[in-house]
Symmetry: C2
Subunit: 154 residues, 2 copies
Amino acid sequence: MSVGDIYATDAQKLAVAAAEARRGAAEGGIPIGAALFAADGTLLGSGHNRRVQDDDAAMHAETNAFRNAGRQRSYRDTVMVTTLSPCWYCSGLVRQFGIGRVVVGDDQNFLGGQEWLAENGVEVSVLNDATLIGEMREFIAGHPVLWNEDIGEG
Amino acid sequence: MSVGDIYATDAQKLAVAAAEARRGAAEGGIPIGAALFAADGTLLGSGHNRRVQDDDAAMHAETNAFRNAGRQRSYRDTVMVTTLSPCWYCSGLVRQFGIGRVVVGDDQNFLGGQEWLAENGVEVSVLNDATLIGEMREFIAGHPVLWNEDIGEG
């Protein structure tokens, strides 16, 4: 799993995001991962939630993947793949930078702004991967205070 | 200008954000600044756009101020003050974390999601400071490619 490798299918792309989520879990963090791909499936960058690891409230999985993809001239043909439905913060990122497509691994444990994105011209694909749904459900049940902090539920 | 100091009025709060914008300009960066305050005007954190300085596309002024304020349990009573109308990315941040109030220094050079925030219960105050408007207008005119990159205009 390296920047520059090509991941042709949505399932392959989601596996990159899932690997990031599990890396975050192994670090003791919130297990959400994301990755940004070019139109041909080239991995531009990936990342995971870093709230716990860096004490950084601003680093959700999607923002971390976006950062790690570096400065791009256009995001129109890129695909943001995330293990969990993007919150308003990360949905705002997608809309502002004109990311053309979003692939969601799980919209059962959390529903962010994906419908708003679709209404505003973003192609949204929801895979609802049973393994990811189970892992996130288990995390939320075991860490309700941390989870609520991460989505701004006081 | 230090974390923990109290800034009572909106004008005083905006001056903190403006100082951040000018610090960014002095570093050769995009001159947008922001600061997050508690309900009583205590400065929690401030920051500025870091695209150029850190090659970091994810660090807008508001996200940088949010990061620098550290992990908070609740944002309901906080105030985000920004020199420029928050883009969708930063508006999404405000909505997701339930920041209660936004003070905007300039909505003439750029209009982001501030109306959407107001529709969703955020108190939005627009100061339209003539000096800030002039400084941002000059920056955009002098750096159109960089400016368009920062707002995702390809």
